[in-house]
């Protein structure tokens, strides 16, 4: 199993979700996160004064899939979340050791 963590622009979430739904990705967890990379924050202006806000709001999507689906999920997120401008985000793929569905006690691929 693989865990895919994608950090994307918040307004891209609906598009990414719809595209993943189309290939039967049946679950995901979404978090509101803040961070910066090469984009290095943005500027806000209050009463004529400029403030540098380092941490920019982003959405992090977590999806656990079987090994053979991971490449497809990455490709879909990469394609749908891209705007081509700075701050589009990143995708990480990590190995997952075990999964449990709490209600039934199912394990691993039956649990995801």
């Amino acid at each position: 199993m693989k865990k895919i963590e994608a950090i994307i622009k918040p307004f891209k979430l609906e598009e990414v979700k719809a595209a993943l739904n189309d290939v039967n990705i049946t679950g995901m967890t979404v978090m509101e996160v803040r961070g910066f990379g090469r984009q290095k924050g943005h500027t806000e202006i209050y009463r004529g004064a400029e403030y540098n806000i380092d941490f920019v709001p982003k959405i992090m999507i977590q999806i656990i899939v079987e090994e053979d689906k991971a490449a497809q999920v990455v490709e879909i997120i990469e394609r749908t979340a891209r705007t081509g401008t700075i701050g589009d985000g990143k995708i990480f793929v990590l190995p997952v050791e075990e999964a449990v569905r709490i209600r039934t006690g199912e394990r691993d691929k039956d649990a995801i």
Binding site: E44, Y46, R47, G48, A49
Partner: protein
């Protein structure tokens, strides 16, 4: 004789002015950081309680009671003794004296609440309560007496202040400067961004202020009729103009019009028209609103060069806006609008401007000095600021054991 129309109008106006203080609480509350939202709202809200009691016990008597040396009222009306349901002919002939008293109470409440923006996010609650008690007693009541009390020296001088430009806005704006200087900067000021956490709350507050201000200015006519209508209309015109002008100025200066700018602009316009609202016409109101939008915006930009931490810009909006309004009254006042007033410079009478300037300077000097003394005394006894770790934690938790926003129910 009591007029039912005037009395009902004045009671409604008193209620409108009352609503301004919770409005101010939201206006300020939205501009601080999440951890201080309740502490900031609480400072305005608790003043409604504290100053009401002060006003009933002795504040009204000191402000409006029989004159002592043109400086302050005496204590004859202590506990509202003799302030009853018959009119007081010196102040308002057609409404019960008690109605005039409660209307004035709302002014006494909002004035110290305005100052709280200057020391936002760092004042100890206990020290704050003592400050409000002393400031209401030693700054507000004398200045209210000078300008509005029978026998008050600025009133005798012929200075015009229809609804409180000097008494409310200059006095609080300059007290704010003294407070910002004595209290010092917030920890991390200028190093980390301290930006408004909830501007929709601020816009809501600005809307409540704008709404309540009709009671503040139109009600200052103390009768329902021609004069109150004039005040109502010019108040709205000045607020609308200043909101537009402020965002135009910042658009040119910084490249974007902001909602905080629109909210700040309308308040600046309301402040500036306050002393003038019973004496000027609609076209003058546009010019007063334009001045407010321009001068207050640049005063706030200048704050960063001067380096003091007037956190929510009380000096820039109320000090500068109030001063502009008081002087503008000396320029644009017309006897044609209000025969009880005077003509200003642009209507052939340069002497009014001198009286206005004197009222401004006297109010500034007195308020600054006495505020400074009050804060130094409190500082010696209790200390003014919360401890470093409490400031880090925020006022909500450290002063009130609460948090403003719950993302989960706490268990």
């Amino acid at each position: 004789m009591i007029s039912a129309g005037d009395t009902s109008f004045m009671l409604v106006c008193a209620a409108l002015v009352m609503l301004m203080t919770p409005g101010l609480a939201f206006f300020y509350g939205g501009m601080v950081r999440t951890k201080n939202v309740l502490g900031t709202i609480m400072q305005s809200f608790v003043i409604i309680g504290l100053v009401t009691i002060i006003w009933v016990l002795y504040g009204y008597s000191l402000s409006f009671g029989p004159d002592v040396g043109h400086f302050i009222g005496n204590l004859q009306w202590l506990g509202l003794k003799g302030v009853g349901l018959d009119p007081n002919k010196d102040y308002a002939e057609t409404i019960p004296h008690l109605a005039f008293m409660i209307y004035q109470a709302m002014f006494a409440i909002i004035t110290p609440a305005l100052i709280t923006g200057a020391f936002a996010e760092r004042m100890k609650f206990k020290a704050f309560l003592v400050f409000i008690l002393l400031w209401s007693t030693f700054v507000y009541t004398p200045i209210a007496h000078w300008v509005w009390g029978v026998g008050g020296w600025l009133r005798n001088l012929g200075a015009l202040d229809f609804a409180g430009g000097t008494v409310v806005h200059i006095s609080s704006g300059i007290a704010a400067l003294a407070a910002a200087l004595v209290m010092g900067k917030r920890r991390g000021f200028g190093e980390e961004p301290m930006v408004p956490h909830n501007l929709p709350l601020t816009i809501l507050g600005a809307g409540m202020l704008w709404f309540g201000w009709f009671g503040f200015n139109a009600g200052s006519a103390l009768t329902a009729g021609a004069l109150s209508t004039n005040a109502f209309v010019v108040t709205h015109i000045a607020a609308a103009t200043a909101a537009l002008v402020w965002i135009i100025v910042e658009w040119m200066h910084r490249g974007n019009p902001t909602t905080l700018g629109a909210a700040s602009g309308c308040v600046a316009g309301l402040v500036a028209i306050t002393p003038a609202s019973g004496f000027v016409g609609p076209m003058s109101a546009i010019l007063i609103g334009m001045g407010a939008g321009i001068f207050c915006y640049w005063a706030i930009v200048l704050k960063w060069k001067l380096g003091y931490d007037d956190s929510l810009d009380v000096v820039g909006v109320h000090g500068v806006g109030g001063t502009w309004g008081a002087l503008a009254t000396g320029l644009f006042a017309q006897k044609a609008i209000n025969p009880a007033g005077a003509n200003g410079l642009f209507f052939g009478n340069p002497s009014l401007l001198g009286a206005q300037a004197l009222a401004v300077i006297a109010t500034m000097a007195y308020s600054f000095l006495v505020t400074l003394i009050i804060l130094k005394v409190i500082s010696a006894f209790f200390g003014l600021r919360v401890a470093e770790d409490e400031e880090e934690t925020g006022l909500d938790l450290s002063q009130h054991s609460e948090t403003g926003y719950a993302f989960f129910d706490r268990t």
